[in-house]
Symmetry: C2
Subunit: 81 residues, 2 copies
């Protein structure tokens, strides 16, 4: 089973990494109105059921992968043949 | 125009962040066979044409957003109404 977790700074929350990217792109001559930087975590799971895998990844996000105060996350789980 | 860039460590390249995530998840009681960590960069562009926006983001990746020696990247560009 493979899971993909995308963790993003919540809207309205300051994103210093995104601001650094925007500023650096401007200096390089790329006009960018906004930039936000998040993380993508790809996991190989040993779970065999889609629903239980998703529930497990949900707990991983709460406990380690995201900071729910300032970040939102999206989970996708897929079976690998 | 909105662009999403996903930057991942290339297969076979050591991913210390992914290893730290896998180890921490194991310690928390989550059996995970593998973990890879990448970045997702979301950009608001001022370009008005899809093709030129994509070419621009390609150059951004080469010059700033990714390290082509050790990272691969995927670009998605979409028009925002």
């Amino acid at each position: 089973m493979r899971a993909t977790v995308v963790v993003r700074p919540k809207p309205g929350i300051l994103d210093p990494q995104g601001e650094a990217v925007r500023d650096s792109l401007s200096k390089l001559g790329f006009p960018v109105a906004g930039a936000r930087v998040g993380r993508i975590v790809e996991l190989e799971l040993e779970a065999s059921e889609l629903a239980s895998a998703r529930a497990q990844v949900e707990r991983m996000c709460e406990q380690l992968l995201a900071n729910p105060l300032i970040e939102s996350y999206e989970i996708e789980v897929e079976t690998v043949r």
